[in-house]
Structures are given as structure tokens and as C-alpha cells.
Point group: C2
Chain length 502, copies 2
Amino acid sequence: MLDEAVRGERVAKSTYEAALPELRVDLLNAQYDLRSAGFATVVVVAGDDRQGANDTVNVLHEWMDSRYLDTTVFRELTQDESERPRFWRTWMALPAKGRTGIWAGGVLRVINHRLDGNINDDDLDAFARHLQRMQAELVADGTLVLKLWFHLPRPEHEKRLKKAKKNPRLGWRVDELDWVVAERLPAATPLIERFLRETELPGAPWYVIDGTSWRSRNLTTGQLLRDAIVGALADEQARDAAPAPEVSPPRPLRRSGRTVLDKIDLGATIDDDAYSRRLALLQAKLYRLSIQARDARVSSVLVFEGNDASGKGGTIRRLTRAMEAGDYKVVPTAAPTAEERRYHYLWRFWRRLPRDGQMAIFDRSWYGRVLVERVEGFATEGEWQRAYDEINDFELQIVEAGDFVAKFWLAISPEEQLARFTARRQTPYKQHKITDEDYRNRERWDHYVTAVDDMVLQTSTDYAPWTLVPANDKRYARITVLETVVAGLQALVPPKKKGKAV
Amino acid sequence: MLDEAVRGERVAKSTYEAALPELRVDLLNAQYDLRSAGFATVVVVAGDDRQGANDTVNVLHEWMDSRYLDTTVFRELTQDESERPRFWRTWMALPAKGRTGIWAGGVLRVINHRLDGNINDDDLDAFARHLQRMQAELVADGTLVLKLWFHLPRPEHEKRLKKAKKNPRLGWRVDELDWVVAERLPAATPLIERFLRETELPGAPWYVIDGTSWRSRNLTTGQLLRDAIVGALADEQARDAAPAPEVSPPRPLRRSGRTVLDKIDLGATIDDDAYSRRLALLQAKLYRLSIQARDARVSSVLVFEGNDASGKGGTIRRLTRAMEAGDYKVVPTAAPTAEERRYHYLWRFWRRLPRDGQMAIFDRSWYGRVLVERVEGFATEGEWQRAYDEINDFELQIVEAGDFVAKFWLAISPEEQLARFTARRQTPYKQHKITDEDYRNRERWDHYVTAVDDMVLQTSTDYAPWTLVPANDKRYARITVLETVVAGLQALVPPKKKGKAV
């Protein structure tokens, strides 16, 4: 398919120079219009024609307003990158809404690793699959994704290299890697073609760009980008002009039958003595495990969700008091900031993933998408429905990176909640924790029950199961959580060898 | 001084419990009031009493609202951190205005490195000096800096360690490092005391906190923090109520005599042939050097300032076209965003410092502080006056990290500028580059001349000199810049050994 896409088309200098001024004005205008749009543009620049891909990035920088371009060249993983799940750096390279990201350098590198035997076919497939999922999530979120593969047939590669070698004014643009690519092309082509097929996506196809003539290459790229942005802007306008889509209403109050929450024994309790003993023991274990996890570079991601006033904060403090302050971060999740709203909803959580040996404790989390955003109608039905899969894939990537993931739902009864609200009003330093909104949320109790039920059913996976925690007795809840965390870490962290200093 | 500060004061349980509720409400209120204030709070938590410092961080997290706390524990440098100047990570840990940052773990680590002989006295002094400067810059910017040193006398250290060893419910909180600290205390104390003296600062003194009794320690810390925030808020209110300070007016139009700009020969020019030859040669050299710089992990920071329409963008493109797209980033500097305004003005530039082997090209820069912000009155006279020193120290830190720094002022005549404005209006794809503001700026030409003169005189250092570039002939300017960059890189980048593949 690659060589077939190359027609050797050439563009005369006069044609090029005649077309250029209008194209550049178009591109700038498209870029300026994009600034106020509700979506971002990602241009993936890849290809066996390294020099062509590289030149194209430079040409786009020359033609467009670089103030609104975010260009990332993916090289070998840095320490910071290798300490997070594979696509962390890709998420961190996301442009904000209204901006254009240019991503270069990632794909050919992975293909090269396959040819060198550093990774196997399964690794390459996993890479393609996660990339495919990420693209799909971005496209579903409205991002314009334009994927360009710059190709030169092998004879053209060699012709160009020889010519460059002879000509000192061109020679400096050619390096060893270009020769390597040319030599490897026959072996790489089937891999490349499979990769391109596996990462095809409706709405975001690969365009193979003929690198034979730079004028043709530049014009094609510029026109593709212009047409894509102009088209996406028109689509957005059409959607805005259309009758407003039905807002996801506070839906099916309660399905018939029991929910997962009904299975929780809210009467579970623990007596004073047992609590004190267990707490001290578990905290001592957690302390040792957290030091061992740091040394073994095992990260943890803990998620706390639950009813208002279910005791998330107090439970988290029982964990953190048994750890060194530098080994964990508590990440409270409120409504997204203005900056965060300019990205996919998962972006702000990707950003907070812990580095090796660290623990991130999310006090509320990405599950807001399928809880408060669903119930309050902040997310459309389409958005929260597809969030289950998106979240499962997100967590899978964390687990695949060797991290520990635990998710807790702290459940209390409506009566217990009311009692706690009242008590909070009377405790001076807890008054800040209670607002009218908390009372309003109570009116939607049944909607939340349905949402929690769906959430647990759809996102309790073997690699990241939910732990449902009876929390009418706060102390019982704390012990349950500590036990789960300790057991989970014990399974992942190799025990310290004797004789080695802690 | 350390042991003298320790009085072994104890607080009775009943006193503690009586004082706590009010203190916690006060702290929360202070924290909530801080949210709308125009400054940030930084709490430096350090000390030989590691457990005390660590517990204090946990206690602050328990008492305060963790949504508005940014806690950073500085450990050994990560790869990302070690690839930037020493204080990069400290700048990256800055809390935004309205927030509280807790910084722990840095100081004792450096002292330990000195004891281990990993660094010498000069290194320790340099660390103290830069820390001192950074503090001073933050305090001048309005940041509240509270520095706490938690101290235990050596007998108390050992008593505590032995007690902890015997008691399984406390023992898990003690590790080898605590023993090391206790043993080293006599050797470390003179170093610590010198360090504390060297980093004393009016407005941000060190408080030595007695770690003997945890109740006393907690109360003292909480009260200090509360009083500091409440005091700083009151100061801010008083300033706001006071008559507005005189706005820095468009000042001394022109000092008598010549300015540095008068020495530039704006008539300098280069003919077509020479230009083409030199350009090709210099770009070829730059290409090789940029690859070598990447391999040698030498970073570059280039600064472009100049009159409007002086050709900064075109010159930068002549550089970047001779480099791999992944080796450089062009950082255009516009008015700060809402997020950036919540930090010290240098923060957004610290953020963009390149990692090892990369080049950051600033299209306008931190010099905006002493140019547009001075001339337009966006910065007070005090602010832009102290910026010269701040900038010199900033650039010194970059150079000390082994990076190449070059700064270019592109100078054109007022007549040439007007001609270019007119031409831009007539070139379709350059119309975006010209606004009414550009014409307005021309009216302040003489003010800018004074500001540029002061800037060059005050910030042309031996380690980061200004290059004044005649730019009436754009091609002459491009060649001058390329020559300067090539010469600078050649001096820093070791030449490739023969026989090694590029």
C-alpha cells in the first residue's frame, strides 16, 4: 500500500509559488478561527522519509503562527516518562482546545525497536492497540486528528542519499540514520503497513504523503491540514446551529431489583479495642510496605469515592499518617479548572499519575464522569456511557505498568449522612465542609444509587476491582481500607531480604 | 544556636486539646482568606528532627484543607531535574498565588552530601547563596515565606530512638536514617548553623522549633503559620487601602549623550552572493553542531529581542531550518496567561528551560520586564529596577549548569520599521502580524531606546553578553546571528572524534 500511494507527482516551481500565498493565508485564518473553537487539532507526522517529515514540521512552523503550535518530538523514553504508563507522555503532549499539536518521531522509533528485537510482535500490537484507543477517545471528544505518513520508495531513498553525499550544500542534512532507514525499508515495510492498518480509525485515517517532490509534499500537507481544520470548524458550526441535543435527564430512577449497594452490610462494626489494635498493626505494616514499595519502585493509585460525609478524608488520613510525607500525594478532585476544561476529561488524571515508588491517593476521581457529571447532566449520555470503556483502558494501562490500583466506595445510609451533616454544622472546624449543595445532593440519592450500581458493574475488573466499604461505622471502614491496601501491596512488593538496611 | 533554642517546653494534654479547635478554625479561615489574596505562602519544613518534620507535614495536611496545599518533598535529583539548573525543581514547586506550598526534605540532604564529601564548602555556599536569592525574589514579589527548622538535641535523639526500638507501636516509624542523623549531629551542627545564618532574610527568618514535645511542636507550628498568614493578609489590606503608589510614568525621555544603540552601524549590509554562500555554510555548521550538542548534552538558551518588525521571526527560522525539529523549541512570549500571572514573572521562563542537549529559542523573553512592562507601566519602578539583578542571577544559574546562553537585540531604524509595516499590510499572509498597537508603540520609540540602553548596560555580563545586531539589512542580521550561535556552540561542544558514527 505504501509504494502504491506514491505517484512521483511533481509540482512546477511556478505552480507552487502561485499557490503558496493563498494557502498560507488560508492556514493562518484556519488557525486563528480554531482559537475560539471547542476542539484541538493533532497532526501526527511520521514516516520512513525522515527528512521529509522533519522538513514538514519546519515548514508548518514557517507557515503557521507558532504561538498556537505545540510541537513534540518523541525520542527514547526519559526517566520521567519511563516511570509512568507508556502513553503518559502522549497525554502530556495533548494540545489544549483551540491549539494545534504536532507529534513527530514516535512511530518509526517503535518499528525500529521491533526490527532490533527489543520488543516482540505482541508489544508492537499492544502499542498499536493503546494508540488506537487513545485516538478514538480524542476523536470522540471532538479532537481533529490528522495522521500523515511520509513515504519514499527505496530507490528514491538511495538516489537522494547519494546525491546529498556529493553535494556539500545538501550533505549536512543527511545522517547515518537515514542510511539505516533506507537499508531497512524492505524489512520494515510489512510492519509499517500492518501498523498503519491497525491504527486506522473512522474520522482519522492515515494519509500517505509522497515525499518524492518537496513542492508536492508541502502543498499536499498544507492543503490537507487547511481542509481538515476548515471542515471541522464547519462541522462544529453546524452542530451549534442544530437544535440542542437532549440533555441527559435525571434518568431511570431506580432499576427494579437489588443493586450492588444492597449487598453491603451497613451494620458492620468494630469495637474500640479491636480497632486500636488493628489500626496500630496495619499502620505499622503499611509503613514498612510503603518504604519497600519505594525501594522496589512499585507505584500505587488509590481511588476514594463515596457518599458525601462517608468519611473519605478521615480514612485517607489514617493511611497517610502511616507513611513518609514524600511517598504519597493526596489529589483532591473538584470541578475542573478553566485550564483543565480545555482538555479531555482524563487529561487531568493522567497528569497526576505517580512516578515509580510513589502513591497517588485520589479523593474523588475520574469516576466523577459517571457519577456527578452523569447525575447532574454535565456529561451527555454518550459521554458518560463511553466513559466506562475509557476508564477501564486507563486503569489497564496503569496496571500494565506494574502499578497497584485499588478503588474504594465508602457507603453510608441516608440517615447516617443526615446525622453527620448535623454534627458537622456544630463542629467549628468542620463547618467549611458542609454547604447547601450537600443537602441538595441528598435529593438525588436514588439517582446516585443507579449510577454507582452501573459504575461498579461496568468498571470492576479483575485487574482493578472495586472494594465496597460499609462506612456507617467509620472505624470499620478505615480498617477495611487499610487491610485492602496492605494486602494489595504485600502481593506486589517483594519482601526485604534479611540483613539489608531499611 | 540550635540547642539554645530548645527549652524542652511541654504542653499538657488538656491545654493542647483546649487550644486545638480554635487553632484549626483559625488556620482554615486563614487558608480560605488566602485564596483571594495576591500572594502565595511557602512553608519550608526542614530539620535534624526528621520524624518531627515529617509528622508536622502530616499534621498540617490533617488540619488544613489539602485542596489548597501543594506539598513537595525534595529527594535526590531525578533525571528531569538534573538536566536543568539546580533550582529548576524549586521553581517548579512554587505554589500559585492564593495557595500554600509545603517544601520538605531539601536542606538536610545537602548537608548530608557535604558530610559525605560529595560536595565541598564552595558548593554548599553556592547552594545557600542561590537559595537566598530565590527567597529574596519571592519575598520581594509578595510571597510569604515561613522557614521552620525542627531540632532535637542529640541526647533527646538517642533517647527517642531507644524508646522507639523497644516499643513495637512506635518502632515502625524509625529507620536507619534517623540513627545516622543522631550520630552525625555533632559534625553537622556547625554546618547547619552556618547554613541557617547564610539563608537568613529580613522578612523570612528561620524559626527553630523544639521537637522535644510533639504537642508543643504542633501548637507552635500551627500558631506560627496562622499568625504569619493573618499578618500578611492584614499587610496586604493595609497596602490596598493606602493611596495608590505612583505609577511608573513614561520616564526620562532620553538621557543626555549617546546610548549603546548609537554604536550600532545600521548601514551594515551584505551582498546577495556572499549571503547565499555564508548562509549555506553556517547552516551546515549549525546542523553538525546541533547534533554534537545533543550528543554532548549541551543545552542552549537563545534570546531574541528587538524592535517590532526587526526580523526576529525570519532570523529564528534561518536557525531552525538548519536543525532537527526535535532539537529545539521556539518559545514565543506574549502577555502572560491567567495561570502565569499567578506566579513570579520568571516562573514561566524557568518552566521552559531546555533539558540536556536541547535548544530553547525565546522570541521575546524575560526582558519584557525591563522593556514593555517598564515603558507601558505594567511593572512598578521597584519591580523593573530589581529585575536586572534577578535576570542576571537567573542567567548565571543557566550558565553554571553548563548551558550556552546568547542574547540578541535586533536593531532597525524608525524609517525602516515604517517601511516594513507598510509592506506587511500589503502581503496577505503577513497582515496578521501587524496591528494598531504596533503603530502606537512607535510613539514611544525614545522610551524604548532608554530602556534598551539600561538593559544592555545592566545585563550584558561576561557569561551572557548581549549581541547588538544591525538589522536594517535582514540578511546581514541573519548571518550575524548564525555566526554568533555557531561560534558559541563551537566553544562549548567537543568536536566529534573521528571514526565514530554520527
